[in-house]
């Protein structure tokens, strides 16, 4: 009944080429706009396809026939992210595939898993049958009924044009995907981590579910590595993540596997694996300090209930949802969402230290709930590589039936970073702010920024000591690595590094040295030398009650939107006006340049003057933002024209500087443009994805 009548459609204007199977359509629908969208109502046509609920505004922008197809328009919502469908408004009814509607809804509210809420208003002239039909169509389609139908469902739902498009889509080559050995090499070089190497010991995923390439100490041999996998849960051996500019490295690993037999050869394994032959190493036990995934899951579902609770009209509805598992099924453990919230807190406390904005975090948050992106749909690289063995993340959906994915027509799932598939240029522009302190030019530090303090540290501590930080205390348990315990009592006795847990003199001295160095802990200490921020200085979030907040823009947007009386105001930290102001600065500069060149009352006053000012401004910007600007070779020729020189010349200098293989920072001019960004030729409009040859 539903699929037969209107098989395909060309969504007017928005999606010129995508042929999607339209199940239902209703014209003269109004969509309620959120405060971010400018409030008010927008009228247009509502479509329901196998894949999404599309809303096409009546007077939307004229379509560009050459434009790339997109997965979701700004007003669309993927069926997969719908959590429930409620018809209203005078009586509200949760619409399920099996329920019946005893009234004609005037309003349709879609509650999403990502805590958005979409409100649609039907016109009274629309026949009742049509309104009821589209309501039920959405209610029936949004949940894949058969288990294991996610991918086949998604693939069947996508139009052929979209599939073709996705198959030909190429990845952003400017981004480090950390998939190949070269990617890791590049990162090692960026961080200046010289004593580490990329190992391909796991390149066939035989050793563990780690990625193909892992970074391990330079000195460790692959044969040694192979033996070490057994000592760790799921074979997740210690591997390198990042190197601090001052030279310490960050590693991650799973907990030790205690119940296996350890050979004598293993005894110095930790030295090998941790790469700490020359310094000491601290193992931080996260499980003791941090909430478990189950705790996080519980807290998240409580938060959802609380935030959505205010828009569910009856408390019983909430409990009903909780019981039926709707609220909990979305993500078994939203660890990634917790991470996003942590990033948001950092961003909120240090808004000017991030290039990304909370719009970006929101987009990422919402995309997690879409079962569309390879980024979030696989558990590890192995799964991403072999889609036939795909097991969805954390119980997103059930196992995929093997035959459906073997369909050769299925395009590869796009990564979430292909933002153009979901967000318009205008929305994507808001993902980053223009004026931001640029990251320090790497690899100037090369990880060799060792100070006297470090020398102290090295001289004073026994190299190779391994300490355990657990529950806020340092210990040096003799059997921290399990291979040291029991059987190897002889070694333990004679081993010079076998320290008792009570007495850790090396560590004490280290901490003393550290304390004496007076690490800036409060604003009193930060009034130090004038000039730029220390790029090595971490952003330390404040953790006390008064400093923690609720990510209102994320968790409360739906609840507020649904409450008819109030929508969301634009809060102080939202939508930095900086971009707008910066644009205005540029316009004024252009005007000034025009005037000065057209008038020329006095060649000295009119042409020299603005140029000089620009140059000065630009220069002092450098002083304020680039810590190492003096070190950078000045390849820029002296400015010659009135306007073009300022940011262009500068950005080219930063990108043409003799940097290593790292591709030029394409946003380079964005960082530094504070006083010279030309609004006209926006480098960001350059397509990120290049069509295949």
């Amino acid at each position: 009944m539903l699929t037969g009548s209107r098989t395909t459609f060309k969504v007017r204007q928005m999606l010129p080429d995508v042929k999607e199977c339209v199940l239902q359509r209703t014209a003269m629908v109004r969509k309620k706009l959120t405060a971010r969208e400018g409030r008010g109502w927008l009228s247009g046509t509502l479509f329901c396809t196998h894949f999404r609920v599309a809303f096409v505004p009546q007077d939307g922008p004229k379509a560009d026939d050459n434009a790339d197809p997109i997965l979701l328009g700004d007003h669309d919502i993927a069926l997969a992210s719908i959590e429930k469908v409620v018809a209203g408004p005078n009586r509200t009814k949760l619409v399920t595939p099996n329920s019946s509607l005893k009234f004609t809804p005037e309003e349709l509210v879609l509650y999403c898993r990502d805590m958005r809420v979409m409100c649609f208003l039907f016109d009274r002239l629309t026949p009742d049958a049509q309104v009821i039909e589209i309501t039920f169509t959405i209610a029936k389609t949004y949940q894949p009924l058969r288990p294991g139908s996610v991918l086949s469902f998604q693939n069947a739902a996508l139009g052929s044009v979209m599939k073709q498009f996705l198959s030909n889509r190429r990845r952003d080559s400017h981004m480090n995907w950390f998939e190949s050995a070269a990617d890791w090499e590049q990162e090692l070089e960026r961080c200046g981590a010289t004593s580490w190497r990329v190992s391909s010991v796991n390149d066939r995923f035989e050793m563990s579910n780690l990625s193909k390439y892992i970074v391990v100490p330079h000195k460790v041999l692959d044969t040694e590595l192979k033996k070490s996998f057994a000592h760790f849960n799921e074979g997740r051996i210690p591997r390198w993540c990042w190197r601090h500019p001052r030279g310490s490295d960050l590693l991650r690993m799973s907990s030790f596997q205690n119940n296996i037999y350890h050979e004598k050869d293993d005894l110095n394994l930790e030295l090998v694996l941790f790469g700490c032959q020359s310094s000491l190493c601290v193992v931080v036990e996260l499980g003791d300090e941090l909430p478990s995934p189950a705790d996080i899951q519980l807290a998240h579902s409580r938060l959802r209930a609380l935030c959505l609770g205010s828009c569910l009209r009856k408390a019983s509805e909430v409990s009903c949802l909780l019981r039926s598992g709707h609220l909990t099924v979305a993500l078994q453990s939203p660890v990634f969402l917790l991470f996003l919230d942590c990033v948001w807190h950092l961003w909120f406390q240090f808004p000017s230290r991030f290039q990304l904005t909370d719009d970006f975090l929101l987009a990422l948050h919402d995309s997690v709930h879409l079962p569309l992106f390879s980024t979030f749909l696989s558990n590890c690289q192995r799964e991403r590589c072999k889609r036939s063995q795909y097991t969805p993340v954390n119980g997103w959906r059930d196992m995929l039936s093997p035959h459906s994915s073997s369909d050769p027509l299925d395009p590869p799932l796009p990564p979430v970073w292909d933002w153009a598939l979901q967000y318009s240029q205008e929305r994507r522009d808001r993902f980053s702010q223009s004026v931001v302190a640029p990251p320090p030019l790497q690899p100037l530090l090369n990880g060799n920024l060792n100070t006297n303090l470090d020398a102290h540290r090295l001289a004073d501590t026994i190299p190779g000591s391994v300490f355990l930080l657990s529950r806020g205390t340092f210990t040096s348990p003799p059997n921290l690595p399990p291979w040291r315990s029991g059987s190897s009592a002889v070694y333990k006795k004679s081993h010079r590094r076998a320290l008792s847990s009570e007495n850790v003199p090396g560590l004490e001295r280290l901490l003393k040295a550290w304390s004496l160095a007076d690490v800036p802990q409060n604003p009193a200490a930060v009034s130090g030398p004038k000039g730029a921020l220390d790029p090595c200085e971490p952003l330390l979030p404040l953790l006390m009650g008064p400093c923690m907040g609720l990510w209102r823009e994320c968790y409360l947007r739906g609840a507020l939107h649904a409450q008819q009386a109030f929508s969301h105001p634009v809060s102080s930290n939202r939508r930095h006006p900086v971009d707008r102001l910066a644009e205005e600065v540029q316009q004024l500069k252009d005007q000034l340049a025009q005037l000065s060149s057209s008038k020329r009352p006095d060649p000295l006053a009119s042409t020299q003057e603005p140029r000089r000012t620009d140059g000065n401004l630009n220069q002092s910007t450098n002083n304020s933002t680039f810590l190492y600007s003096a070190l950078r070779p000045k390849t820029t020729p002296p400015p010659t024209s009135t306007k073009q020189h300022s940011s262009r010349g500068h950005s080219s200098s930063s990108s043409s500087a003799p940097l290593p293989s790292r591709p030029p920072n394409r946003d380079g001019n964005k960082h530094s443009f504070l006083f010279g960004h030309s609004a006209g030729a926006d480098p960001r409009s350059e397509p990120r994805y290049h069509p295949p040859p």
Partner: protein, 753 residues
Amino acid sequence: MFSAKPMKPTFRSYLPPPQVCLYSVIILEREIVVNEANFVRKCISTDSSQGDLWGRLICTNFKVSFIPQDPPPKQKSQLSHLLLGQHDISLTCLEQVVTVNDTRGKRKVLGSNKKLKFNPAELILYCKDLRVIRFCFDEAGPESAKKVCLAIAHYSHPADLNLLFGFEYQGLRYHHYKGDLVNGSTPRGGIQTPIFDCPSDWDREIKRTGASEWRVCSINQKYIISESLPEYIVVPVSLTDQDVKSYSLSFNDGRVPLWCWNHRNGSALVRMAGSTEPLNQRKTEQKIFTAITKSHPQRREVTVSDLDKALPNIQDIQSAFVKARQICTLDPFEESEERWLSSIENSRWLEYVRMFLKFSAEVVYSLDGKNVSVILLEEEDRDLNCVVSSLVQLMLDPHFRSLNGFQSLVQKEWVMAGHRFLDRCNHLKKNENKESPLFTLFLDCVWQMTNQYPAAFEFTEAYLTVLSDSMWIPFFSTFLFNSSKQCSQDFAKNKAIPPTEDHTVIFPPVWKWSQQFSSRDQTLFNNPMYVGKGAACVQNGEVKSFQRSKKAFSSTVRISSTSQRNGLKGEEDTLQRRGSLISGLRGDFSPVKDESPAERFFRDWFSHPADLQGVLIPLVLPSHVVLWKLFFLRWVLEACIPKGGPATVYHKVSQLVDEIDTLQSKLRQYKGASPHSTPVPSPSGPPPGQRRMYFKASSADEPPTSPNVLNSSFPFNPVGNLCRRGVQGTPISKFLNGAKTWLSTETLANDTF
């Protein structure tokens, strides 16, 4: 005229005989050092003595001053007060003076003329601006320590208002002959803010609001009918002076209903006190209501809002504030960490802020949505009415969201309307029951609105905070008296002036900010994001963005008349709807059943983009009324985000706006120049004195201000105030803090390195 007199306080280097080190203290004219103690330790942290300052503690008749021996380098971007140093506390600002006995840790709250039986080991000063300051006397002489504590306690409890230092200070500088009075009003001294002590200020306000059916009445000259009303009041034109006089008898303290403000649609906002004689009350009230109705162009009936029934009383507000203050400044954070948000919620302060905002929004609905005049009724008309009437005007009239407009609003609805600042601030520390932070509550409500609409107000939260601090400096007429009569008559005579001369003391209002801050520091008051008449350049940007949204959504044009606000404009043609013939388009937009007209008004308002130059209604959901962190937490070092917080955004925006200003002035110079004359564009734009922004765009001669010194307490500096524990709470830092304590107790010299 006092403008000729020297305005700057005298700076005198204070060099004590024994020390050779160079430090100075600001000593004002007529300020006398009463007592002092040497070798006093100012405690910075409770858990270790690291970072403590050594110096001299001084008590004068104006302030408690601490002069550190080795003062830490002064921060560049920090508000510096012209009358008070970084470690100074005005005596009026002291909330409690507590001494601690060394041996038993016994605490004693010191009042005036109290005896102290033990030698104090510590002195803790709890300040009204939420600072907590602790001094240790372990190296100071016990006698001098005791004396200075007693002196501080004594001088912070003046027996009489006359004894406040302000009378000494201003009495010297601001007295003048009565003959100097211009048109019966005090000279303004270059302040643009109207004071509302003369008929012309009221006339201008009537004209500005278009209240043609109202007039200035001078029946209360010499405070004949009421001691708490201003000398000039605004009444309906249909009432004669005699009517006003006779009606005044029926109201508390003779307070006839007082006009506050007129809406463009003709409805008026009036405030009224309760009655003294309930029997005749109805008759009198009816007559006045009729007169107000007559002054309404549509002759609408008036609505009376009883504030006493709907809002918390002043004691409730006081106890909520005390609790909130306790949670923010005193309670050790570790113990309340997990439940911190709950405890703030339980203080009910935020709830009261919400209630006042909500109540005011409902009055806005009556005036703007229902087009009826509203009478705010409160028993005394001197407390809650001040909050509500000024909030209502702030929401309705964009003029009051400018800096001068806001100051005139406070002047009109608080100072002239007779808010008992003297009692509510408890300057004399005599009657705790009368103390209530209503003005602070009002400022918090205003802050909530600035937080929700950051571009709608000309002033910053730093301004609001500085204004609240000014309450505790006894120099300003604004916050010192219970009524304008008290200010201009009762206390105009003073012992500082020889009785033979016909002089009166004139206290300047707080609005003369040059008394407290340099003109550069005053630029901290300017909100760079403000979209208003004064800020044309920023407006350009705003207008642009509005245009864009207009194009995209075609429904965002807000028309002040509500009847035309009907959702999508121009859509009636394309969408013929069932029922639209009878109910009109707006009727179709009521998806919520059983909606009251007020709810519909708000829903309608919130479904449109807010016009920052129009009516502004705050969100009053519990989730959107938040703690005013700058006010409550600025002195709490533990909660201070170094190199972060909203100040960093303010810094960037200010720089951009300054650059826009500079470029625009250059552009004007180019455009204004005739083709033959040589334009002389100055590279730095307008001279520094005229620049509006605190942070300047960087230029060659002026290196950019490093954001290094910015933190979330900016422009205040929490350093030097009591800190209760180490700053970071990560597992490693917990350990390291332990290590630090241990380091301080153990001599490091013995260690072999």
